[in-house]
């Protein structure tokens, strides 16, 4: 209850901040539509030259685009603005105020900034997923859809946990403000099924920076490519990575000594 109240307070503050820049919001949504147009056109170009990409059809790639956009929205609407604030707060010591507040510091650091208009992007992503599933149509069972949703959530949690670990490193190395760039750089690899990549790239996006776990894997579940053992394994990895991340965050917090000392 307490958490929900905080969340809605953050939401309100961020809506107010966004309302100051209404024209920017309109421009941003137009640009967003332009990129969506480009993404669909590029899929169309690919599929005018072939009937399948690594065994996947156009419907499945549209659904994958939706999942990719979900992760991308998390990056742009939550992770970037909060990283910026976090890096700033380590440099000038305003992290003190965050720690003093009677709430979980990891929660505060995650949600204090939100790019509100991106909610629109979430809606678009869900539309893309639904349309994509309908086009590919044939054999999706409700069980497949359920595992798809579970694995999408756990994939997002894995990316989120990696982010927490990356920004926690700032507690040890103060001049580490490039922390999230590596995540963003590899994110584009989530647009296409990881199965088409050469082995070395597949290893990087699966094990090092697990973009594929958050994008390709849920889609594989939707197609019914994954057995129960693997599904449970990916969910377990999601839970484990969250636990590890909060441990690392706490350990990092202990190292924090303010900016003046």
């Amino acid at each position: 209850m307490h958490t929900l109240k905080l969340l809605s307070a953050f939401f309100k503050v961020n809506v107010q901040m966004a309302l100051a820049y209404r024209a920017d919001t309109v421009v941003n949504i137009l640009l967003n539509l332009m990129w969506l147009g480009w993404e669909l056109l590029s899929l169309n170009i690919i599929f005018s030259n072939t009937t399948s990409l690594g065994g996947w059809g156009i419907g499945e790639l549209i659904a994958l685009l939706g999942v990719f956009r979900l992760v991308n929205t998390m990056m742009i609407a939550l992770i970037w603005p909060n990283t910026e604030k976090f890096n700033q707060s380590i440099r000038d010591g305003s992290m003190d105020y965050t720690i003093l507040q009677p709430a979980n510091s990891m929660f505060l650091v995650t949600f204090s900034r939100m790019t509100i208009w991106r909610i629109w992007d979430l809606v678009l992503a869900i539309v893309l997923i639904v349309v994509g599933i309908n086009i590919s149509g044939d054999t999706t069972t409700s069980l497949n859809i359920l595992t798809f949703i579970l694995l999408t959530v756990s994939g997002a949690i894995i990316i989120y946990s990696l982010w927490i670990v990356l920004i926690s490193l700032t507690f040890w190395f103060t001049k580490f403000d490039n922390n999230v760039t590596i995540l963003q750089a590899l994110l584009d690899a989530g647009r296409y099924p990881a199965t088409v990549y050469p082995v070395w790239l597949r290893i990087i996006v699966t094990f090092v920076i697990p973009i594929a776990v958050a994008t390709t894997v849920p889609l594989q579940a939707l197609r019914g490519d994954l057995d129960a053992v693997r599904i449970l394994m990916f969910i377990a990895i999601g839970i484990a990575s969250f636990l590890v991340a909060s441990r690392v965050w706490k350990a990092g917090l202990k190292r924090y000594s303010g900016a003046s000392s």
Partner: protein, 265 residues
Amino acid sequence: MFLIFQRLWQVNWAEQWQYRANLIMYLLYWLVSPIIYLAVWTSIASSKGDVNGFTVNDFVTYYMVLLIADQITSNIVIFTMGYKIQDGTLSGELIRPIHPMLTNALVNNIAFKALTITGLIPVWIVLFFLFKPDFSTVTLTGILLSIPVMICAFFINYLISASITSIAFWTTRVYSINEFYWALILLFSGQFVPLSLMPKVIQEIAQYLPFQLLMYFPIQVILGNLSRPQIIQGYVMAGIWLLLALALFNWVWRNGVRRFSAVGA
């Protein structure tokens, strides 16, 4: 004048050299999408034998050369000058007796480029061994013919980008306009896929736009895929667009600076 450029080079090289750690991140950022496109298209080509005549090796050589062409013809002027116009620090550069965009910012971009190309060399060699391209169609004439075009394309792109940056004299939303410009490049330059695989309409339009000069045209010249009349046509387009870009930049800049001083920033 030569002495001025020499000094500017020393200052800007030293400035860029400070940020060499960021270079790795920048290279990583910028390498990922061509490699993804390469992987997607080679995967399609290897499952079907070829895509409209493009074999796996054609795609590999195309994107390997694209990495170099893109690095030579791109620029970062909007990020180095945009904020200076917005927060007024440009005043300091305006009172110098040299043109801020055409001397200091230009040399700064070239210094950045020199650094990134140095960083690209080892990466390119690693990719060469990973993908093992067959460059047997590349000739010395092709390489020599592509160099003037790429230099010309760099200046065309630089002047257009500088014009877009100068829109900051009027509005704060230059970055959005620049994003639109990037989308045009993506659509018409051959960055996503060799232009000859794009829909016919796009190919027709692309012929008359400057964007193909940034990537598709020099790549095809290097790979020896163009006939003599096609090469001549490309050179003519490059000349025309260079003049147009110069005129555009001069016009935008002159009106912009007038506005800048009128505000009294």
